[in-house]
């Protein structure tokens, strides 16, 4: 992107979005997309810690075959809370609401999102939903699993299901409003000259994510509302004794919840495209294919939900069509992985922390994606459905994929967000710890899953113990790997060296404004003249390389 060079005036303390205002009101009533991104960053880190705590408790419980650390009711509440908090209150908002909110306006060359006040409303809805979920947890928790399958959730469970459902219902609208804001901003507020194929790939993947948020979230909102109504008024919508059909709940629930996994992973793919390109200083190989693959994933993502129900009483023919479409959706993901790898060819690669996280992402997402093919295969799904094989698969995509990309993205854009560098050595250590700890936690679960250990088991046969012990050992290393960045990011925000506008020599509009940026992002709206990822303009070469 070539643009008129910006020479910031050297006043004593430069005005930026962080020191533009002080005090609680300037944060709680802000409509600046960058401040709302930080509000989201704080709140989802809080939920990530709670969810992580539950994960450690579950792993501790599973050290021994007998259920002896907690009672089975408590264990059921633990894995339900772990699921609900991690999915609805961490993974779904993680990249779109933090990095997306911060970067989408900057990357398209706008001063703010299309609807700043709705953006703040989105954060408040998230917090209200979170408070309701915390209240439901404090009051006694929910033991239905994050999937709320009826008739257990609507008739037989005597836990605080209704409060939790209202919490998720409200938090769902926060996700809808973020998606709505992104779609309108990307369509109507691009800088002059910024055509669709000059947009960074982070924008493409967040656009695809917003499509899924808009078209999927309302369906789960009304489905969970029906479960709550059925619970309160004893109606028979999903209750078989009164004529309802629990399989219909599963259809409506998974219509959203499978595309929801693409809400979680697509922004991660966008971050990885940016990191791979920045740290090999090379245009992403097959830019148009990677961009359109995101859109293909978001659309195909709506046609495959039946692979969660192969053994749940779905008809044979419906299972056939869902299985076939689930195989097709593997192709765009494969294209992305191959294109990322090809980008490294003839690049100028430097092994900073974000790139280590990106390599981790590509490795683990490849394994996660391919094990998805195991589960899409009808014959094999019959055996591995609802076992630890499934648990390992979706953790490879969610933790190995999305959380790795999220950590890589936070490290990559930290200089832009806080204006300071993070400690590189500690960063690389945390990336290594997370990679090793992750594999030690979830590889054994593939093995014990295929041996037949079912999901959500509080006590299991003794022959599965060795794999669970290995997995728990891995979980502690993983927990340590996540704790490290938390410490050094706080340290770096106060004491680290200042970072210039473009510490990595990366291309992109966000690297041409100050770190941290001013509230309006650009003094003068940039005009885009060339394709993205043009490193010859960012770092003019004396003599061309090889």
């Amino acid at each position: 992107m070539s643009t008129t060079p910006l020479v910031p005036p050297q006043s004593e303390v430069k005005k930026n979005y962080l020191n533009a205002g002080y005090g609680i009101k300037s944060w709680l009533l802000t409509t600046d997309h960058k401040r709302i991104a930080l509000l989201y960053l704080a709140s989802i880190t809080f939920f990530f810690l709670i969810g992580g705590l539950f994960a450690l408790l579950i792993r501790l419980e599973l050290l021994t075959p007998a259920g002896d650390l907690v009672t089975s009711e408590t264990y059921n509440k633990l894995f339900t809370m772990h699921g609900v908090i991690m999915i609805f209150f961490f993974l779904i908002p993680s990249i779109p609401a933090t990095l997306g909110n911060f970067l989408v306006p900057v990357m398209v060359g706008a001063r703010d999102l299309a609807f700043p006040r709705i953006n703040l409303l989105s954060w408040y809805l998230f917090v209200i939903g979170g408070v309701l979920a915390i209240y439901s947890m404090m009051a006694g928790g929910v033991d239905t699993g994050w999937t709320f399958y009826t008739p257990y959730s609507s008739v037989y469970s005597n836990t605080h299901v209704v409060v939790m459902i209202i919490g998720i219902f409200v938090a769902g609208f926060s996700s809808i409003l973020t998606g709505l804001n992104f779609i309108v901003t990307i369509h109507t507020m691009r800088a002059p000259g910024m055509t669709w194929f000059r947009l960074p790939l982070f924008i493409w993947s967040n656009y695809a994510t917003s499509l899924v948020q808009i078209l999927g979230t309302p369906v789960v909102a009304i489905t969970l509302a029906l479960v709550a109504i059925e619970r309160v008024f004893k109606l028979g919508i999903f209750n078989p004794t009164l004529g309802g059909d629990p399989v219909l709940f599963q259809h409506l629930f998974w219509f959203y919840s499978h595309p929801a996994v693409y809400i979680m992973v697509l922004p991660g793919m966008g971050v990885i495209s940016e990191i791979i390109s920045a740290f090999s200083r090379k245009r992403v190989f097959g830019y148009e294919f990677v961009a359109l693959a995101s859109i293909a994933i978001s659309i195909l993502g709506f046609l495959v939900w039946g692979h969660h129900m192969f053994v749940a009483g779905e008809s044979v023919y419906s299972a056939l069509s869902f299985s076939f479409l689930s195989f097709l959706i593997a192709i765009p993901s494969a294209i992305k992985v191959f294109n990322w790898t090809a980008t490294l060819h003839k690049g100028s690669i430097s092994f900073d922390t974000p790139l280590l996280y990106a390599f981790g992402f590509i490795g683990l997402f490849t394994v996660g994606g391919l094990t998805g093919l195991f589960l899409a295969s009808l014959g094999l799904n019959v055996h591995v459905h609802d076992t630890y094989f499934v648990v390992a698969h979706f953790h490879y995509i969610m933790v190995g994929g999305t959380v790795m990309a999220y950590m890589g993205g936070i490290h990559y854009w930290w200089p832009k967000i806080s204006g300071r560098m993070y400690p590189e050595g500690w960063g690389r250590l945390s990336a290594l710890l997370v990679f090793v700890g992750f594999n030690l936690t979830f590889l054994p679960q593939f093995v014990v899953g295929y041996l037949g250990m079912p999901r959500r088991y509080h006590a299991y046969p003794p022959e599965f113990q060795i794999w669970n012990v290995l997995s728990t050992a891995g979980a502690t290393v993983l927990g340590l790997g996540y704790a490290l960045p938390l410490i050094y990011f706080f340290w770096s925000a106060r004491y680290a060296a200042k970072a210039g506008p473009n510490p990595w020599g990366a291309s992109g509009l966000e690297w041409q404004i100050d770190s941290p940026p001013i509230t309006e992002n650009f003094e003068v709206t940039p005009v885009i003249t060339g394709p993205p990822y043009d490193y010859r303009k960012v770092l003019p070469q004396e003599e061309p390389v090889g």
């Binding site: 257990y152 593997a330 294109n339 609802d386």
Partner: protein
């Protein structure tokens, strides 16, 4: 069973072997692709590491042939996997001709298994080796899932309707039975054992396991005590030869008279009225327990001209 640490699961049936071969070839495929990607990343990142701080990468945009290559090749591989897996699924979804029907009623946190000869067991399933066994299952409360890892099969058990699955064990032994669909507090204790026995031992076990009235006899008793016999002789739809045939309905549809049709016609008779008959049958909702329903079903299946258990499939 001595606690040993299995790495590879035991195979209890031909279907299990088929699933395992598929699984191991998929594992091989995953290892191949993962190591291919890992090797490429390692090689590229070492070969093209940054040598000077201002060095940038070559100006390569992409290549259409390469993109087509790694779209079409994965597509072909994936379609091959789909075909193989679907063929496995057809075997699992289509029980062979004469299966040995066992009825399973799932209840929050236990499995009640009923053999056609009338013997019922809790959390235990004794089956003869070498014989195709079909499980006809229903639940009395929430969704459960009857999971036999040794045979690589599982099927959700849904309240309000019948679901079924089949297996043919070939190795005698005692294997795990799990509930795989989360069903509440004691979901992890809703487990049991399946005992595969030589046919001789099985007959011996049957004989001395108790002389319970056969399900067909119990079904016939219910059939008369509920008053069905008085009507289903002349002016009500005949039940002889009903099971497994197709029935023309009042509203022009033709329905396959399977287990679900019989259950529905008992609980909600006016849902599917047989052509040429008035919808005068009262509902028996709430008057017949799940076990009673299974016994009635066994009796009506026996009226299809065959003895229970050896029903022509």
């Amino acid at each position: 069973m001595a606690t040993y640490f299995p790495f590879l699961p035991e195979q209890g049936s031909r279907f299990a072997t088929g699933v395992d071969t598929f699984y191991f070839s998929m594992v091989g495929l995953t290892i191949f692709f993962a190591s291919l990607i890992f090797a490429l990343i390692l090689f590229f990142s070492v070969r093209y590491r940054r040598r000077s701080p201002r060095e940038i990468g070559a100006d390569i945009h992409g290549s259409l042939p390469l993109e087509i290559f790694w779209s079409v090749v994965p597509l072909v591989i994936v379609l091959g996997i789909f075909a193989w897996a679907t063929e496995l699924f057809f075997t699992r979804s289509n029980p062979p001709a004469n299966t040995y029907d066992v009825y399973v009623a799932a209840k929050q946190w236990m499995w009640k298994v009923q053999h056609p000869e009338g013997i019922s067991e809790i959390n235990e399933l004794h089956v003869p080796a070498g014989r195709a066994v079909k499980l006809v299952m229903t639940s009395q409360d929430v969704i459960h899932s009857f999971y036999l890892p040794i045979f690589r099969i599982k099927q959700d058990v849904i309240p309000g309707r019948y679901t079924s699955q089949w297996f043919q064990a070939d190795k005698p032994g005692k294997y795990h039975l799990f509930c795989a669909e989360y069903c509440g507090t004691n979901h992890s204790h809703m487990t049991g054992w399946v005992h595969v026995m030589e046919p001789r031992d099985y007959q011996h076990w049957l004989s001395q396991a108790g002389i319970g009235t056969s399900m067909v006899a119990a079904g016939e008793h219910l059939f008369t005590s509920l008053g069905c016999a008085s009507c289903h002789v002349r002016d009500c739809p005949p039940l002889q030869g009903l099971y497994g045939s197709s029935v023309a309905l009042q509203d022009g549809r033709t329905v396959f008279a399977g287990e679900a049709y019989i259950r529905e016609s008992i609980l909600a008779p006016t849902a599917k009225v047989v052509r040429g008959y008035r919808p005068i049958m009262p509902t028996f909702q709430g008057q017949v327990s799940e076990e009673g329903m299974l016994q009635l079903l066994a009796y009506i299946k026996s009226l299809a001209g065959e003895a229970p258990g050896k029903v022509q499939k």
